[in-house]
């Protein structure tokens, strides 16, 4: 749509200019549109274009030809000089056409302003999958349901029972239990008659004792389901179809200037459905001199796909930390991938505040392994290492049940997000990464 508008605006230029440079101008517009995304960049692009039109169209009509010849330059002793000759004036109809088109362009631009931020990949199938993930914090915490002492006591007992049964460290579970009971005995919960406030208080105390930020007690006004909802009938078929339509959320697979491979991936889809697409995408950038993974709109997905793609970037099996799974023999990347030429190529990962879950996993591990430069914004911060346990209709708790060996740090990115190496606004991340890649090439 934008390109069509600009193509129309190009008609304002004299024929001679359009014939000589119309296609090149359009190409430049395409290049800028491709690299300058997001609200601010789009507005800046159109501001530049309109300002450029306002200046250059009248000049083009005035400038029929510039006939400075070598003799002229010699006359000015090497001083640069350009002559502009008066030619045909802009046609009235061209000017009128320009006014109308500018109005149309301004109106059209105003539409995407409200919707300019690209949204993450959404489909029914993915929503269904999201429902399979560890339940998230309920968005509302209504102030209903007064708790009495007996209710509070019942909840505390249930919390302790769950901790003792499921928590990875029995000693810590016991310490938490002692602490909760001591507080209860001292009457420190007596004032807490609100479910959400009580849940918060329990969470704080559990985290203080355990120093484990994955632990949480939740209160929900709406009754919690007896068990996590399973996939609805036909979900896999719908997912398969959605992935076909969306090219498995590989929105772009390109080779940019300077032979930089560019993959814009908006989720990490199920490898059993999208494995061949992922393999083909990686093959098509196999000869690149650097690779950019654009995860700015990536909402996560399957850890297996995260590991599958990461495997291309190493020439030996590399420990691939996953906070959601215990460390096993499967925790190493299946590197080297036969035929992959990417193991020693510079890698850049573009992030935004929307980059989520599995995409953060990919970013975090590559950053910690010093295998990629992260460019953009701090990610959203969802590691979700806990599993949710229902206590009753309104209370539940997240308990850490896996102990993955994190060789990099005591904490992961839960709640804090993954910090980029190069902090720039998400909209500027691609152009920044390209510059960084070019700089690397120059140093070689």
């Amino acid at each position: 749509m934008s390109e069509k508008i600009y193509a129309c605006l190009l008609r304002l230029y004299p024929d001679r200019f359009r014939k000589a440079f119309g296609e090149a101008a359009l190409q430049l517009f395409r290049d800028r549109s491709r690299h300058e995304r997001g609200l601010f960049s789009t507005l800046r692009l159109w501001f530049d274009l309109l300002a450029d039109l306002a200046v250059s169209v009248p000049l083009e009509y005035r400038c029929v030809q510039q006939t400075l010849i070598g003799a002229n330059r010699q006359r000015f002793e090497g001083q640069p000089s350009f002559r502009v000759l008066e030619g045909e004036s802009p046609r009235l109809e061209a000017l009128a056409f320009g006014v109308v088109l500018s109005l149309v362009a301004a109106f059209t631009l105003s539409l995407p302003v409200g919707h300019a931020e690209p949204r993450g990949f959404h489909s029914n199938a993915m929503s269904a999958l999201a429902a399979l993930e560890v339940p998230q914090q309920p968005s509302e915490r209504p102030q209903v349901g007064k708790l009495d002492a007996a209710e509070r006591q019942r909840i505390v007992r249930a919390v302790i029972a769950n901790l003792k049964q499921y928590y990875i460290d029995p000693d810590v579970a016991q310490k938490i239990a002692d602490s909760l009971l001591a507080n209860e005995k001292a009457g420190k919960f007596d004032a807490l008659t609100d479910g959400a406030a009580f849940a918060d208080r329990l969470t704080t105390q559990i985290r203080d004792v355990s120093q484990d930020r994955h632990m949480i007690v939740e209160y929900s006004k709406a009754p919690l389901p007896d068990r996590p909802p399973g996939p609805p009938p036909g979900a896999l078929e719908r997912y398969r179809k959605a992935m076909e339509q969306e090219n498995c959320t590989f929105e772009k697979v390109q080779v940019l200037e300077h032979n930089i491979g560019y993959l814009k991936l908006n989720s990490f889809p199920d490898p059993s459905v999208c494995g061949p697409t992922a393999t083909a995408a990686m093959a098509s950038v196999n000869h690149a001199d650097a690779i950019i993974f654009d995860l700015r709109d990536n909402r996560g997905g399957y850890p297996d796909m995260v590991a599958l793609i990461a495997a291309y970037l190493f020439d030996h099996p590399e420990y691939w930390y996953n906070p959601r799974e215990n460390t096993t023999e499967q925790s190493w990347t299946r590197s080297p991938v036969p035929g992959s030429l990417l193991a020693d190529k510079p890698v850049f990962v573009l992030t935004s505040a929307r980059t989520f879950s599995g995409a953060e996993h990919f970013s975090y591990d590559l950053k910690m392994l010093k295998r990629a430069t992260l460019v953009g914004e701090t990610t959203r911060g969802a590691a979700h290492a806990g599993r949710f346990h229902r206590i009753d209709d309104h209370f539940g708790m997240g308990i850490t049940e896996v102990r993955a060996i994190n060789p990099f740090s005591k904490t992961d990115w839960e709640g804090t997000g993954v910090e980029p190496d190069v902090k720039v606004k998400a909209v500027d991340a691609l152009i920044t990464a390209e510059k960084l890649a070019e700089r690397k090439f120059r140093k070689k």
């Binding site: 430049l28 039109l53 030809q65």
Partner: protein
Amino acid sequence: MPKRKLDPLPWAAFQILLSLADEDLHGYAIMRQVADQTDGRLRLGPGTLYSSIRSLLEEKLIEEVDRRADAKLGEERRRYYKLTPAGRKLARSEAERLADLLRVARAKKILRGDYV
């Protein structure tokens, strides 16, 4: 029939010549290089860019380079431009002119010596 003369070299044209000093570039790459070398202050629009390119071509200060697109790499066909010896000479003389100006500015204490 000259109506007006742009002298010295227009800023945009000078920046384009500078952008081509190191390597041959196509239009978009020129635009980006110019934005880089001016810290983003000058973002050449297509009209200004190609108008300047045409002037420079006509003056034989730059020339088009035959460079085929590599379909395998997904490249679109583009026109590349190269600085000619005359273009390099002109860019140098313009830079020297600016350097002279700088010397005057320093002598007049408008600029301190360590600024540039």
